[in-house]
């Protein structure tokens, strides 16, 4: 029991790191709200949304969910399947463009 206690204690981290991440998440959320507040449009809007989103997601996963300190086997098991999602996104982007094209063609231009 003593040994497990010692190991558990070594896996906790200083409170400062959590407060820092917490503060950063607030700031990033505020920034992403400001993107809408100032009504940025086009590529600027989309890239800012994506940057803040990925930063927030990364901070939550790395520090709140402890992935930064986890063993590599777990990190890899979790992150590699995300490439399948990325592939799916690319497939569906091609798909919705084609659907939109056919709808515009048949609804408005007339086949």
């Amino acid at each position: 029991m003593d040994e497990t206690k010692k190991k558990e204690q070594s896996s906790t981290h200083k409170i400062g790191i959590y407060l820092w991440i917490w503060g950063l998440l607030f700031v990033l959320s505020f920034f992403s709200y400001m993107v809408d507040w100032y009504q940025f449009q086009g590529m600027l809007r989309w890239s800012l949304i994506l940057i803040f989103m990925f930063l927030k997601a990364g901070l939550i996963m790395a520090f709140f969910m402890h992935l930064f300190w986890e063993r590599y086997a777990l990190v890899n098991v979790l992150l590699w399947p995300m490439t399948a999602i990325a592939c799916f996104i690319f497939l569906m982007v091609a798909e919705f463009k084609y659907t939109l094209f056919t709808r515009l063609l048949y609804f408005f231009v007339g086949g």
Partner: protein, 237 residues
């Protein structure tokens, strides 16, 4: 958290440890609590569920020739007579991040065996989640009053309603389940189920351990994580 049953096992860090883990016999994540490994596997599958929702939303929104409703107008809220865009959504986001932070601290104090701090922080997390669900119920009823239905809405493309109710509803369900478990675990912490003094939990003969708070925390942070993506893609895009 090293499992005392596995004798002679030594965890190695880095890629060597990864090779040792993936090549090891019988179990892959030696020394990791089974509940924690299973929670990660569940969260991975849940990631796919939410990804499918968001990807179908992308496909639906991208393929309609009708104009999509402007979310910053649809979700605007009147504050002192002035419509503020996304006001409720912004508050919901901050509430959820606050509860995520208290959960992270609860996990930390749990591992330090600080029963009081851990219990109060889990309770605070539960209250934050409850606030979030309440605001979501308010948002839903407001939109339903304005005539938003899964098959039509007065703002634009008809698909908007079905994606909105599906995605936020599924996320809200996750939050609700999380809140229920947070209340149960707050009770368990205060009742001393994790202090190893011989007390047992409900329906089990196993002694509890504070690792259960970390597992609950993983679920709760995941709910927050999903909201980050919903906030970006559904409300801001």
């Amino acid at each position: 958290m090293s499992d005392p049953k596995i004798e002679g096992y030594q965890f190695k860090p880095g890629f060597k440890g990864m090779a040792a883990d993936t090549g090891s016999d019988q179990t892959m994540f030696k020394g990791v609590h089974w509940g924690k490994a299973m929670m990660w596997i569940f969260l991975l599958s849940d990631t796919f569920v939410f990804s499918c929702f968001l990807i179908s939303y992308m496909k639906g929104r991208g393929s309609t020739p009708v104009e999509w409703p402007n979310p910053s107008e649809v979700f605007a809220l009147d504050a002192f007579g002035v419509p503020v865009p996304l006001l409720l959504i912004a508050i919901m986001t901050f509430v959820l991040i606050t509860s995520s932070g208290t959960m992270a601290l609860a996990v930390k104090y749990g591992y330090e065996r600080n029963k009081k701090m851990c219990g109060w922080l889990v309770l605070a997390t539960a209250l934050g989640g409850l606030t979030f669900v309440g605001m979501q119920a308010f948002e839903w009823s407001k939109l339903i009053h304005e005539g938003v239905r899964p098959w039509e809405n007065p703002f634009g493309a008809a698909q908007f309603g079905s994606f909105f109710f599906m995605i936020t509803g599924f996320h809200g369900t996750h939050v609700t389940i999380g809140v229920i478990f947070l209340f149960i675990y707050a009770y368990k912490v205060f009742a001393g189920h994790y202090d190893g003094e011989g007390k047992r939990g409900w329906f089990t003969t196993m002694r509890g351990d504070y690792v259960e708070i970390e597992i609950l925390g993983l679920y709760w942070h995941f709910v927050d994580l999903v909201w980050v993506f919903i906030f970006a893609f559904f409300y801001l895009w």
